[in-house]
Symmetry: C2
Subunit: 146 residues, 2 copies
């Protein structure tokens, strides 16, 4: 699947939950082909959303798909090779601390430098989250399920 992404505005707030749910199901059934309809039934969301997220997971090289009868999706790599920071990055569209205001007043001595200072702070906090997620893997997450 090839995509040229010009600009994606939407930050889907349930995307991390959705994607880790999808990956958990796939990791629990290695070698099997799960359909978007079946996966959607577990999450109880629309199957088109599931297919879209699976498109991103294919872009990451984690998943492949098969069309037609008996088709579906399956994991290409073991869960221990997918860490949660990488999963988060596939769905993350805004900084952890949110968005900056677009036009702080350049004539105000504070306003003119605000976004530069926030840039540094926001980047640092994002890194903190990545660090915390990096040492966790899909495998360790999946192991928690009975």
């Amino acid at each position: 699947m090839k995509k040229i992404i010009i600009f994606v505005a939407n930050m889907n707030n349930t995307r991390f939950a959705t994607v880790i749910h999808i990956l958990t199901l796939l990791a629990k059934s290695p070698g099997e082909w799960l359909s978007s309809d079946w996966i959607a039934g577990s999450i109880q969301i629309n199957p088109v959303i599931v297919r879209k997220e699976l498109g991103e997971l294919q872009d990451q090289g984690w998943v492949t798909s098969r069309k037609g009868k008996e088709g579906g999706y399956t994991l290409l790599i073991p869960g221990k090779d997918i860490n949660l920071a990488a999963i988060y990055k596939t769905v993350k569209k805004t900084d952890v601390l949110g968005k900056k205001n677009l036009n702080p007043n350049p004539k105000c001595p504070i306003g003119k430098d605000m976004n530069k200072e926030l840039e540094d702070l926001f980047a640092e906090i994002d890194e903190t989250v990545f660090d915390a997620l990096r040492h966790r893997t899909l495998e360790s997450f999946v192991k928690q399920f009975g």
Copy 2:
């Protein structure tokens, strides 16, 4: 200002940026009364938004206000006594990793436990962010400005 909050649905994505901007301006002018209009002019957002955020900052006990001519807002406590985790908590409405899906399928062995597992993970990441923000203060943030 007393409020009974039944349920607040809105998570304003620029709220952290807005609130830290407001607090920075107040901290840079100790003892002065800044109007919501003047503050809004620095951020270049609507003054009503500024007054709403200042309402929350008053609830925290950090700020007080004065109505009427020559009125405005001023800081009640020094910037070193306000840490960024506390600021984040005043505006935070969702977990860092986002929202959970509402109704994972209880008949699915994965679906039925998903939100419990996500709950733990999401709480842990939130704590990580609080920890990173806790050792920074408004004072240290403000000092960065020329």
